[in-house]
């Protein structure tokens, strides 16, 4: 297998000790994690700590008639039982979601999805808390649920959100982008129009660590300390201040080690608020950790878009326009975490990587009796759905035109000289060079040979498929002039302090969940200021220790916070240069930077290292006029634009005609995320995303029965790829730096999750070509593929 950057088995270069930042470097966070010394939320143990368990609704839609907690309160070890009515008295029964909706913390009037929080118990240990849940007697009046999203707006459909004043139907919001009339005109004159109904089913991020919190409220100090599984500690702190009315400076949110996030740990969940209330009520530290079923049935789901895609083209394969109509299922509460002005996230990039004449999207979002969520699972704010739509419909067009799908894409790419490129939906792609990326993927795959092999196999009746996808993402939200979450601008702070001996500490507003920030951010600072990464401590995930910022999701850490880290280091370097000029008795202009030292131009023998400068900055003796002591700086970085990574993916599948089982034989991923900070970590990010893609394309779905029972409520029902379902990944890369990012980096955390599902589905559909199949909906389980082979439609979800 061809794998670019496969490490050699005998030597491992490690630039930990050198002042050069970028390149393969082993991770600083690994030693503790390898020894079982990581500190995850459930590892936090405090003296006198109690345990909290949540009682959840068994029904998707029901009126809460009464809740009797008397038996539970009398149970051994129980310290408190709290219901929605209790919270109502405290004004805490409802909380705002990140998208300006409200969500019940504990149900007071109705339950609106199966698994909704109804009451909680605080007890001496986790077993006692769970036992007591059994003793709470809730009387429900069961109501008809709205489960089929297509019927949610029918007259007479049960009204879900009667808590909202004046609400008479299940409509959540409408959204449109592009030019409807212009697009219609282009469609009207096109040679070829292809239309396809495409469903991106509801899936779940399911990180291995479920969500949880430990709340410790000190009534004397009036201070709340909250360890929680959050990707956005600062945003959460501000929201707790707003929800609970606690003064913000008395709230410390700590995100310790996080066992995977993938967007699941962006929203504020009722459980976090319950833990806080539990600690206030009992006066003790309180731990809440959800179990796996709770995680799957109640926390942020992803996708759930029902899309009609249309594409217009000339007979010779020039794509003219793309149009789509989307029905979006937002569950019972709109719990998405997209920027406020982008209720459909960045779905507007559904025009993909192609230079077209017109585009239009109309979206209707609705409420259903399902768990809230929406933006999660490494989706880059709905770009997963957008890329799936365009890459699937482009393949449908290729089939219609009987054209090779690679050739069709190459013919329609935005060309390098067109960047910055403004799409028909108003997105300004910063840079891109698509063809070399595509060609490299085809070279690694041996595309022509694969097609020849496929022809031979097809002649023998074997089912082999080759699928391509090419994606452009928009990541790094975002410019504060038009992007905010509940009024909080999406900028990120960074602080850098160089100690007298030349060691440094950098403080970030973002928070890793496995992406290796403790390593890559040390590398960014090292690259700029010449202090070895080993000498740079990265502090993150504690609101008392770090500057404000919106956190890690939507692949925004490197584009936003990474830029902040580079710029704050440059700020420190500028100051260091002034001090160096005094030390060397030359002007600032006479100095040049030499990775870790300033030297006199033309006389490299005369130089001072950054470590010597740091000591001087803190030492005795005069500093230049107007220069304060110390060597530190802070910054808040407001990105001028998003960054637009791209990639070309090729998937090869074999389908067993006897069982309809799909086997992913090969997967080639060529990514372009601009400047590469740590190739080892980039490769890891890509591998993980590709595995997510196999899961979504072939296995994962959160389905419901007609009563609203969640059918994916455990890892026995919600299938996640193991090592047996995925191939050995083959990767490559091209580098097209972002012109507006200080180091040219673009972000890569979600590229593979976004780009891989269409490649896999395209490969399966390609394999099924002899059966006349043009489309089949995910997840392509054996039963669905079997149906497709027999011309039966996939059952609707």
């Amino acid at each position: 297998m061809t794998t670019v950057e496969e490490p050699k088995t005998t030597t491992f270069d490690d630039n930990d000790q050198t002042p050069v930042g970028f390149g393969r470097m082993l991770r600083k966070e690994d030693p503790r994690l390898l020894r079982g010394r990581g500190r995850f939320t459930d590892d936090v143990q405090l003296p006198g700590m109690l345990h909290l368990a949540i009682l959840r609704s068994p029904f998707a839609h029901a009126r809460v008639v009464s809740v009797d907690t008397s038996a539970a309160e009398a149970a051994p070890g129980v310290k408190a039982v709290v219901t929605g009515e209790t919270l109502k008295g405290l004004g805490l029964a409802w909380m705002p979601t990140l998208s300006n909706d409200v969500q019940a913390v504990l149900a007071t009037d109705k339950v609106r999805f199966q698994g909704q929080e109804v009451a909680f118990v605080v007890a001496e240990d986790r077993y006692a808390a769970r036992d007591a849940l059994e003793l709470i007697d809730v009387e429900y009046e069961v109501l008809d649920p709205v489960i089929d999203v297509r019927r949610s707006l029918e007259p007479g459909a049960p009204l879900i959100r009667d808590d909202l004043e004046g609400k008479t139907d299940n409509h959540c919001f409408d959204w449109e982008t592009g030019d409807e009339a212009e697009t219609e005109a282009v469609f009207a004159r096109a040679d070829v129009v292809v239309k396809e109904d495409i469903v991106y089913p509801r899936v779940h991020p399911a990180p291995m660590e479920t969500c949880g919190a430990v709340a410790d409220f000190d009534a004397v100090e009036g201070k709340l300390k909250l360890w929680s599984t959050t990707q956005a500690p600062h945003a959460h702190r501000t929201l707790y201040a707003i929800v609970a009315g606690l003064p913000e400076h008395k709230i410390q949110v700590i995100a310790p080690d996080i066992g995977g996030g993938f967007g699941n740990k962006v929203p504020i969940y009722p459980g976090y608020v319950c833990a806080i209330v539990g600690s206030i009520v009992t006066g003790k530290p309180v731990k809440w950790m959800e179990d796996r079923s709770e995680n799957l049935i109640s926390t942020g789901f992803a996708r759930d878009y029902i899309m009609r895609g249309e594409i217009a083209a000339t007979r010779d394969g020039k794509i003219l326009a793309i149009r789509t109509n989307v029905l979006a299922d937002h569950g019972a509460f709109n719990g998405t975490a997209a920027p406020v002005k982008y209720p459909a996230g960045f779905f507007g990039v559904f025009t993909g990587s192609y230079d077209i004449e017109a585009a239009y999207c109309k979206m209707t979002a609705v409420y259903t009796n399902k768990a809230p969520g929406g933006v999660a699972y490494a989706c880059s704010f709905r770009i997963t759905e957008a890329v799936y739509l365009v890459e699937r419909i482009v393949d449908c067009l290729a089939a219609e035109l009987d054209m090779d799908p690679a050739e069709l894409r190459l013919k329609n790419f935005i060309q390098p000289d067109q960047f910055p490129y403004t799409t028909k939906t108003g997105w300004v792609y910063d840079s891109g060079n698509y063809e070399p990326t595509m060609r490299q993927a085809m070279d690694i795959a041996g595309y022509a040979e694969l097609r020849a092999e496929q022809a031979e196999k097809r002649a023998r009746g074997e089912l082999m498929g080759i699928g391509i996808s090419f994606f452009t993402e928009a990541v790094g939200a975002g410019p504060r002039k038009n992007m905010d979450i509940l009024g909080l601008g999406m900028a990120d702070g960074c602080e850098l302090r160089v100690h007298p001996t030349g060691k440094a500490v950098v403080r970030l507003s973002v928070k890793t969940q496995g992406q290796g920030h403790e390593t890559t951010f040390a590398q960014i600072v090292a690259e700029e200021i010449g202090i070895p990464p080993a000498d740079i401590e990265v502090v993150h995930g504690d609101t008392d220790q770090t500057p404000f910022g919106l956190g890690t999701y939507g692949s925004r850490s490197t584009p936003v916070s990474g830029a902040a880290a580079a710029l704050v280091a440059r700020k420190v370097r500028d100051k260091a240069q002034i001090i160096a000029s005094a030390m060397l008795e030359v002007t600032v202009a006479d100095l040049e930077w030499a990775k870790g030292a300033f030297q006199v131009k033309g006389d490299p023998g005369k130089s001072v290292t950054i470590q010597q400068i740091a000591m001087r900055a803190h030492g005795a003796g005069d500093l230049p006029e107007g220069i304060e002591g110390g060597l530190e700086a802070q910054i808040c970085y407001n990105p001028s634009n998003l960054t637009y990574p791209h990639g070309a993916y090729i998937c090869v599948v074999d389908i067993d005609p006897g069982t309809a089982q799909v086997k992913v034989r090969r997967f080639i991923a060529v990514d372009d995320c601009g400047t590469r900070i740590n190739p080892m970590i980039i490769e890891g990010q890509v591998h993980g995303g590709l595995t997510d893609g196999v899961g979504m394309a072939l296995m994962e779905m959160i389905a419901f029965d007609e009563d609203g029972n969640c059918l994916g409520a455990s890892l026995m029902d919600y299938l996640i790829p193991t090592a047996l379902e995925v191939p050995d990944w083959e990767t490559g890369y091209t580098v097209t730096p972002s012109p507006h990012h200080p180091i040219g980096a673009k972000g890569v955390g979600e590229s593979a999750t976004v780009g891989s599902p269409p490649a896999i589905v395209n490969a399966v559909v390609d394999a099924l070509k002899p059966f006349g199949v043009r489309h089949a909906d995910m997840p392509l389980t054996p039963s669905r593929v079997w149906d497709a082979m027999r011309g039966r439609a996939t059952p609707p979800i």
């Binding site: 390898l34 079982g36 995850f40 291995m208 080690d257 066992g259 079923s293 496995g514 970590i681 490769e683």
Partner: protein, 158 residues
């Protein structure tokens, strides 16, 4: 009830509830939090430890059942400051990201190498197929085990 077992070569005796799971005994009673918990259904394998040298899912074993037996956890892998080759392999080959599944993965992989010092990629994938990693996509875990295998063989030859 009282239970006595060896955990990482140290004898421990504790008074416990009969229903206490081994994973909770290790984490909550002994504060050995390197072993993780990730599902209710024995699917994820973040809780894998050794019981008398065999990898088991500690969410599916009662602490009482471990009485009189030897348990080894991730905290018992390294020899003092020296990482076990499997730990070093995971570090060198980026076999971990968030680190949550890693202790369970390493316990399984160490047990594999003890039985089969030179496993094929397919044998490694089979060995870890009862465990889930959501971050790495498994290729780097396979490489990590190969790294440990190669380096252990080299050490023996020296």
């Amino acid at each position: 009830m009282q239970v006595t077992m060896m955990v990482n070569d140290v004898e421990v005796t504790r008074e416990i509830e009969g229903r206490l799971l081994l994973v909770h005994f290790l984490r909550d009673v002994l504060s050995l939090t390197g072993t993780h918990w990730g599902c209710d259904t024995s699917n994820c394998g973040t809780c894998v430890v050794w019981l008398d040298g065999e990898p088991v899912k500690s969410c599916t074993v009662l602490a009482a059942m471990a009485g009189g037996h030897e348990v080894r956890t991730v905290e018992g892998l390294a020899k003092g400051s020296e990482l076990d080759p499997i730990q070093e392999g995971f570090r060198q080959c980026h076999g971990l990201q968030c680190g949550f599944c890693t202790p369970g993965m390493m316990m399984t992989c160490r047990a594999l190498l003890d039985k089969n010092p030179d496993p094929t990629d397919a044998e490694i994938r089979e060995a870890i197929s009862g465990q889930i990693c959501r971050c790495t996509g498994y290729s780097t875990i396979v490489r990590s085990v190969r790294w440990a295998s190669v380096h252990e063989a080299a050490a023996v030859n020296q």
